[in-house]
Symmetry: C2
Subunit: 203 residues, 2 copies
DNA sequence: GGAATTTAGAACTAAATGTTTCAAAATGCT
DNA sequence: AGCATTTTGAAACATTTAGTTCTAAATTCC
């Protein structure tokens, strides 16, 4: 067996940094931001209090790291859902289904860190990050529509901007319903119907 | 001048109960639930600390009262927007515009107590109330669609249930965007387009 | 094996927060 | 005017919470 890389000098950590961050995400997802105490994080992350401060910093810093990691992972999965399928309809349905699946993950509090928790955090950096992330999501969906125009799947006068907003609004609605406890099965069906809706042609 | 009703015996209150509740709503809207301290409420409601406890009870009780009042008022306005106009299209547009206007009120933190704040409150009674309120909103929109069927405005096989979910999801999306700082003007335009979207006929 | 280094766990401090208490103030009643 | 009643404001109290410190434990390097 290899000694993987150089092991640092002192006592080894009893936790994995990425894993601890993911656990922090769970805590924030279930209790919001202000509802979370350091004790909650200590308990939920499996990291001792002093280690928590020395490795991650305070609650705000932990939240920011968790939020960035969450956004990156979710953004990547969303992009995959959007750009893997061949047809626009499948792309949109996949995108919306992904929103539902992400918001109803087994063993996690239903909802979404970006949509349900972060907007209430009273912090300029969080707000800016949110704005950028939302804009990024919008750009992603728009690009998929433009791709569909260039392949001729939809006409060139397709209202890309309006339909993109609507896809995102529908996904927000699905996510909020997930947070309020609506079962995944129902939401997945609604995701399909939402995908159909935004592709209806104008009379 | 009339002595309006019987004035109670002791020292008169320095605040109006309904007004104080509305101010509490503002506080909760801008800071969420867990983010609000009693001091915030004392300052924001203009009610002294002991009066606050004796008249309203603790934070949870204040929130519940504020939430119920908020839901009632918003529900009434939504119903009016939905059932006043003659055409279905105007009803839906009015409903969605109302969601936007309510979420972007001048001098209030953008967002919605029911959609953005209450779902994060870790309380069984709040959760139950939310579920009921959401179901009530859904029923309202569905009724408007059924009315439109009976007047022949839409065909009798119109997918009432699906479209109602979608109207509500779209309004949730608009509301969440309001909370994130999107300007009212943009959202009002999107509300109109959303109303058009859900009335597109199937091919 | 022992010194140096890093982490872990428990205890500690200071600040904040929620809730109650109490005397003073403002009103109606007689 | 004086008494009963209710609200008010300040302060007191207890609890929770954030953040630090200190000692013991686990590891590498020599």
């Amino acid at each position: 067996m290899f000694q993987n890389a150089e092991r640092p000098r002192g006592r080894p950590r009893s936790f994995d940094e990425k894993d601890a961050l993911e656990k922090a995400t769970r805590v924030f997802r279930s209790k919001g931001y202000d509802g979370v105490t350091i004790d909650d994080l200590v308990a939920g992350m499996g990291v001792g209090r002093p280690s928590l401060y020395s490795v991650f910093g305070d609650k705000r810093a932990i939240f920011l790291r968790a939020l960035r990691a969450y956004a990156e992972a979710k953004g990547a999965r969303a992009a995959k859902a959007l750009f893997s399928p061949a047809t626009l309809r499948d792309s949109l349905a996949g995108f919306l289904r992904h929103a539902v699946e992400s918001a109803t993950e087994e063993g996690q509090a239903p909802g979404c860190l970006l949509l349900c928790v972060a907007p209430l955090v009273d912090d300029a950096e969080v707000r800016q990050f949110l704005k950028d992330t939302v804009a990024g999501g919008m750009a992603l969906v728009e690009r998929r529509f433009y791709d569909a125009i260039s392949t001729g799947e939809v006409p060139s006068d397709f209202p890309v901007s309006a339909r993109s907003s609507q896809v995102l609004d529908l996904s927000r609605g699905l996510t909020m319903r997930a947070q309020m406890g609506m079962p995944r099965k129902t939401l997945l069906k609604d995701a399909e119907e939402a995908a159909d809706l935004v592709l209806l042609s104008r009379r």
